[in-house]
Subunit: 328 residues, 2 copies
């Protein structure tokens, strides 16, 4: 339970000191309505002298605007909150919200309890950013939250989506591998319940089939550890694999570590590509070829949309771009 904070200077104090009414002080400080130059000066002087800082809680209460934006991450367990993608999203959201005096909360939305969203239907919540979410969660958005929820990923008629062009990014990576002469390309997927990761899988399947190449899928979960295991599985099943495309960079780094452990040269024997362009992709050995997308821009756009409360187009797609480095 947060402890009460010390009493501070209120608008009443300022008004009294400036010898005007609270309404006038509010008008001056809020910058709306009329006020004589004289009153304006006196109020500003008093506010400065007293060190007045408006109480955002009270403002939020009367305006009914909410004071925190929730980043809700869907997943099987709370470890999804440790994802670097989530970290970046929270940081970007926090930066957008800070000037509004709005805080950011991180919530885990269990995969099997989509109704958990209801808990957020509280007027202190000015918006929700759904990360890595699934259709049942979108369907469970309570009416009171409508218009204040956006999804970073899959959308729905009721929930606008700000999304990465996973299919386009996947295509760029696969074309690059193909251009490098790779033909037996395995893919380490994300969790299969996550439709935005599945879009990459669908794109992979489509492109491989179109090119008459074999489809080789191993399920991963975005983590490096799982990527490590997945690489070994792929090599066991299809020893002639000459490239591995991982749906996240963390996974790709795990794949590279596994190959190194097996004495397999990257990219000479097996090329490896990831997806995300995390900071360490550039300094891994070999430096990781991946697809980049503007997480910060996506989240900034999404958070701004929620905060502004403007109507938003149902889908805003952000392009993904190939970053060719050493690993493929």
């Amino acid at each position: 339970m947060p402890a009460p904070t010390a009493r501070s200077v209120t608008l009443d104090d300022v008004a009294r000191a400036a010898e005007v009414s609270r309404a006038t002080a509010s008008r001056v400080l809020g910058g709306y309505g009329f006020a004589s130059v004289d009153a304006r000066d006196r109020v500003h002087a008093a506010a400065d002298r007293l060190g007045y800082v408006p109480n955002i809680t009270a403002r939020a209460l009367v305006r009914g605007t909410g004071v925190r934006l929730v980043v809700a991450v869907t997943g099987t367990d709370a470890t999804v909150l440790d994802d670097p993608y989530v970290d970046r999203a929270v940081a970007a959201a926090a930066r957008v919200c800070a000037p509004h005096g709005v805080g950011v909360s991180l919530e885990w939305l269990p995969l099997d309890a989509p109704a958990g969203l209801r808990r957020l239907d509280d007027r202190s919540v000015c918006g929700v950013l759904l990360v890595n979410t699934i259709a049942p969660v979108l369907d469970a958005v309570p009416a009171g939250l409508r218009g204040r929820v956006v999804s970073i990923g899959v959308g729905s008629p009721a929930v606008p989506s700000f999304d990465v062009d996973n299919a386009g990014g996947t295509e760029a990576v696969l074309r690059h591998l193909h251009a490098g002469g790779r033909r037996r390309i395995a893919m380490v997927t994300g969790p299969r319940w996550l439709s935005c990761a599945e879009r990459s899988v669908t794109a992979y399947q489509r492109l491989m089939r179109a090119a008459g190449l074999p489809v080789r899928l191993v399920t991963g979960d975005f983590t490096a550890a799982r990527g490590h295991r997945a690489a070994l599985t792929a090599l066991r099943r299809w020893p002639d694999t000459d490239a591995i495309y991982a749906v996240s960079d963390a996974t790709a780094l795990g794949v590279i570590a596994a190959l190194r452990g097996r004495g397999i040269q990257v990219p000479h024997d097996v090329a490896v590509a990831g997806f995300d362009d995390i900071p360490y992709a550039a300094v891994s050995a070999p430096a990781l070829t991946t697809a980049t997308h503007p997480v910060a821009r996506i989240v900034t756009a999404a958070a701004s949309a929620v905060l502004d409360g403007r109507p938003v187009p149902p889908v805003t797609a952000f392009p993904s771009r190939l970053v060719a480095r050493e690993s493929a």
Copy 2:
């Protein structure tokens, strides 16, 4: 400007539906004071039926408790907010705060404007976590914020500190390098204005002098790019360097990339060690030897202390532990 949220079910609605007064409903839902079994049942039933969610803003206003916790990061520019350490801190803080309905804001505190803290002396702020801060900022903590501020790093008489044992961690790493036969150990520092990073430098200097070994310092800034440059500088100045200790893992990964670029074998020719144990330390090539410290635990402790408002010991130190991997 956040948009007004839809009108939702209030305590009055619940009270009316349960045919009790607002006070009784509040008492039942708040779990304090007396209430007959009958009233209790009716209120709970009504709350469930109506889908009542308390408005945390209103509660915070009347209790005067604040609804957001600010993570304030000191640095020369806003890019400090992209630090993975900061990301982890925000995520951990958000997780502690969420159950209290408290949001987390991220603020950048310019290095040359310690008074920026004053802006936070607002009753909507229930606490401040100072990250990577410096003495002038601590001295500038406004009176109204006293008791609600803790520092992750250097402390002061007015501001309790939750800190990593940088000196101990540095000692552990250097002893490990020494035990591996390394004698010409260069160090890539953090920003020189950051006293908690400087503690590592002091420990390095002390230990090297005590062992009669040369002190070789290059200034870094925690980034991989700077680590890359710093490694080249160190090699130019002291070509016989046989180990590089970087004060952050990101820096160390940059160092390894630079050495690889020069065709220098790690750890055969030059050993490399970092500090932090970020997730990618384990999957880099070679896997990075580093010192780990419990960021999540530190921040959790700090955030809980602020939220609880209990008096806190002036300094709480968290041990740092060597993680020996391949790079040293």
